[in-house]
Amino acid sequence: MNFKRPRSLKDKVTHYCPGCGHGVVHRLVAEVIDELRIRRKTVGIAPVGCAVLAYDYWDFDVSEAAHGRALAVATGIKRVKPDLVVFSYQGDGDLAAIGTAETLHAANRAENLTCIFINNACYGMTGAQMAPTTAIGQKTATTPEGRSPQEGDGYPLIISELLARLRGVCFVERTTVITPSDVLKTKKAILKAFLNQINKRGFSLVEVLSPCPTGWGLSPQKAAEFIKEKLSREFPLGVIKDEA
């Protein structure tokens, strides 16, 4: 097999930190778009956060959205141009804090959209503050003693499980990208989430537990261990819903 750069990915060095998951997931999205031959009719919504510059790496149309509003913007695009393949690429703060309402209601309307949800359990871009998905006990810039539900920091928000309960949602899977087999599973899930949209099946979401070594203050290897030992216990991997 010939390992090449996908057509949907530009020949560019990313600005992401060593060990970050964004580069891997960008590539997987690009590979899937190539394989489905939909590059010219795909529109991505870039998040607010580290991946806002995704359009510098992807070679298809991309729109920014205000923080949290990606699925509202995606809804507007898809409804006026149903033949386009529209996906949002969002972080945990974007999708599950400031944009919870937009996320929940786009899903509940069964918008025929694909959502790639990057969960790195912190606000990486702004200096690794607590996210809705920060693990209990996890130290961040705004939980210096570790996240404490007893101190009022709340619990890790299992947004994917919540969304899976909605009738408008057809597919939810949680994966990670810390081993080659995880990467392959993630690609399969992303492929399915795009195929569901092409087949007009409604709302699909793939949550990727994604390492943020810089934000977590860990080496890339230790960050992978953190996902394996800690984060994937709060957020169990696997298919959460599949009605496609």
Partner: protein, 355 residues
Amino acid sequence: MKEQNKVFITGNEAVGKAAIDAGCQFYAGYPITPQNELTAYMSRQMRKAGRVFIQAESELAAVNMVFGAAAAGARAMTSSSSPGISLKQEGISYLAGAELPAVIVNAQRGGPGLGNIGPSQSDYFQATRGGGHGDYRTIVLAPTSVEEAYTFTCLAFDLADFYRTPVVILSDAIIGQMAEGIVFRPPSRKYSLPPKDWALGRAKGQQNIIRSLYLGERVLEKHNLKLQRKYRLIERKEVRFRQHLPREASLLIVAYGSMYRLAKDIAVELEGKKNKKSVGIFCPLSLWPFPYKALAQACARVKNVLVLEMSYGQMLEDVKLALGRQKPIYFFGRAGGEVPEVDEVCRFILKHKLI
């Protein structure tokens, strides 16, 4: 035009009819009084016309859906009333930054906060100064009748597309909820609208990006200067106003929107009292760009100027900018959902010997 072609319709519905006639393909809204007639109208008519209507989960979602539809090249509109328009400011700033065309309708009500559902003109500052964060302006059109609610909304879509900028229709609970008999005559198009080759999903080979983020050194400044050049062009080209200036007028009332109607009644009342046409009226139709020069010229012909608003003096500041210290400027305003009465304004004019 034949009388039987007249339709009795509210201002809010006339805005909706205009949007349909102007080819609006996408509308998203959220219920709030006093603009509910518009949302209800759009829910019926948009789907009937094979276009998109969404009752959004919030004002924020509605304006961001409009952002998406506009980014995909569609004509798109949202509407609300004052508290909801505050929520939409995020999206309006992003629309302006990303240079996306859209129409935003504000049927103003009393504020601040939840205020009440009476008519008001207290969102003038917000509408004419940008409203959200960053250096931007939106074109603001203020209809004085149901007919103008229709024609201005038709015009707003053309202006939005021509300049790639959000356009605000600033009405209020009076203009929005009152019904008048009108004939639907879309204004003749005077703008040649370029193809939207910047929009998403064109599949022309090049990558289209809709953005308002510019991180590099001086890159955002360059973008800002481009926006400013556009705003200067709009200030030169898109000033709109109406004036009635009888030769013997000694007082000029400056009023917009529904207060223009009150000013007309006041002029008639005082003409009866004084037996001469001593009151002129100047009515800005575009609140941004504001007709500074035309107002200054009109004021040069009278002794006194009275600004009449349903606020505590917001347009007043633009009138002061137009006139400087060249003329005494009086102000009469009520807000909080209350409408000034003809009698009390006449008494004010006579008491201060403005005519």
